[in-house]
């Protein structure tokens, strides 16, 4: 164990991961489980057939409140291009913080806390690697208008897969009523949780916010269910890649706009027209004129994976882009990738070459997701 390992943060489930035989690796300053003895392939495939349980407690959970819901929503809209004002109690939306260049500072999930809780607040989940900056960003811009409370005493679990709903119903029958992208309080195993029906795998599933002191207890109860297996960050990455979902820092960064990233669907119509978020002018112009490059799915035609930073060339050898995420898709049973290509080479079916270890490997622009989404709508 190196000296730097001793500076890593631990989630409330660290001891459990070690007990389960997890291989631990540093991620975003945390000591996280990348896989368990079953291995990444098995964990990935299990999530698409049963229910995988992930510890995502490293992510940031923030409670944003104001005098009333509308004030909190309007405040957050000054930093994000989504329409939050129209959220019904319990409704969840995907969005991102933009900067003045129209780039993305982080992507996030925002839920209007629903019936039974203080309906004035927004529950925000941000990436672990950005949470310090995100909280600073919120405070720098909104502290006069909102109460910004990082929920440091809460863990976050993700239960994902076609059997997740059947598992959760055994703990809380009302979970059956939840549709995709909604959230509500639920008592699970005697513990008060806030649960959303959403995730990062493309499967039906839930994200469960639970008090840190009860996370180990709840996790053990969930793992006692025969359909539930622990899944690490390795499979989390292959699952989201197959689902065509962006990884902040790879596929979206401060130098990618939401238009280039094919995320305009997350900028609701009113915001596209009105602006009122950082970089709105640049983003509006790109929506009108088309962006210079686009994030696309890329399917290598052979068996060799092509990973992040692989150059993308035309068949005549001109470099037109770069892969931002790539690897092996266990459900696709072959290599999958996403990256940015110059817009004139972004049409589905465009033939490209991926420069892997000095060789030009043929590939095609492909639609994402690579495995169909199975959200419970």
């Amino acid at each position: 164990m190196s000296a730097s390992d001793q500076n890593l943060l631990r989630t409330p489930l660290y001891d459990l991961h070690v007990e389960l035989g997890a291989k631990m690796v540093p991620f975003a300053g945390y000591d996280m489980s990348v896989q368990y003895p079953a291995g990444i392939l098995t964990e990935h495939l299990h999530t698409r057939s049963g229910a995988g349980l992930f510890d995502v407690s490293h992510m940031g959970q923030i409670r944003l409140s104001a005098a009333n819901f509308a004030a909190a929503a309007i405040a957050l809209e000054s930093l994000c291009p989504a329409d939050f004002q129209v959220l019904k109690p319990g409704q969840q939306r995907y969005s991102f913080f933009t900067n003045e260049a129209g780039g993305i500072l982080d992507d996030l999930m925002v839920t209007r806390a629903g019936p039974g809780t203080d309906a004035d607040h927004l529950f925000v989940v941000v990436n672990a690697g950005c949470k310090v900056q995100d909280i600073a960003h919120l405070r720098a811009h909104l502290s006069g208008r909102c109460r910004i409370e990082p929920l440091e005493d809460r863990a976050l679990l993700a239960l994902q897969g076609p059997k997740a709903a059947a598992v959760l119903v055994r703990f809380a029958p009302q979970s059956a009523e939840m549709t995709f992208m909604t959230g509500r309080p639920l008592v699970l195993g005697g513990m008060e949780c806030f649960v959303t029906r959403s995730g990062y795998t493309g499967e039906d599933g839930f994200e469960i916010s639970v008090p840190a002191g009860e996370a180990d207890n709840l996790t053990r109860k969930l793992l006692a269910d025969p359909d539930v297996k622990p899944v690490g960050l390795g499979a989390r990455d292959s699952l989201r890649l197959e689902a065509g979902l962006c990884l902040y820092g790879n596929d979206i960064t401060e130098t990618t706009t939401p238009v280039e990233a094919d995320l305009v669907w997350a900028i609701q119509k009113r915001r596209r027209a009105e602006g009122g978020f950082p970089g709105a002018g640049i983003i509006q112009k790109q929506i009108a004129d088309g962006p210079p490059r686009k994030r696309v799915g890329i399917l290598p035609e052979g068996k060799a994976p092509a990973r992040a930073h692989t150059e993308i060339a035309t068949q005549s050898g001109e470099i037109v882009g770069e892969i931002t995420s790539g690897g092996f898709g266990p459900s696709v049973n072959g290599p999958v990738a996403m990256g940015y290509v110059r817009s004139d080479h972004a049409a589905i079916g465009t033939q490209l070459n991926l420069m892997v270890r000095g060789k030009a490997l043929p590939a095609k622009v492909a639609a994402m997701p690579f495995t169909p989404h199975r959200y419970h709508r």
Binding site: Q35, G39, I40, D237, S238, P305, P335
Partner: protein, 125 residues
């Protein structure tokens, strides 16, 4: 009579006559995790000790397999193209990568025997 020797990069070599069968050790496959792709050298390629012989990819990353000995590639295990998991299942046997006609048998002397390799692996933790 074949004798297995090991490199510090976790490759094994089994010599029969002047041909060496090369693979990665069980320790190496455990560290890698599930193997999803193997890139084998072309037959006829001259490989130099310590230089890249093949590439083995897990879900997460690509790793180089180095030639523990110099020589000419005379055979490759094409079965690995369709069944890369064989490397995990039987790294020391069916998961072999390539056979190399030895250019310099004295290079074997620099490799570890089984006992030395076991000690070496223990010392890595």
């Amino acid at each position: 009579m074949s004798d297995v020797r090991y490199s510090q990069e976790h490759e094994w070599v089994r010599v029969e006559g002047d041909v060496a069968t090369i693979g990665i050790t069980n320790y190496a496959q455990e560290q890698l995790g599930d193997v999803v792709f193997v890139e084998l050298p072309e037959i006829g390629r001259q490989v130099a000790k310590g230089k890249e012989l093949a590439v083995v990819e897990s879900v997460k990353a690509a790793s180089e397999v180095y030639a523990p000995v110099s020589g000419e590639v005379v055979e490759v295990n094409s079965a690995l193209t369709d069944a890369p998991a064989t490397v995990n299942e039987d790294a020391m046997g069916k998961g072999w990568f390539a056979k190399v006609k030895l250019a310099n048998k004295s290079e074997l002397g620099a490799l570890m025997d089984e006992a030395a390799y076991k000690t070496y692996v223990k010392g890595l933790h």
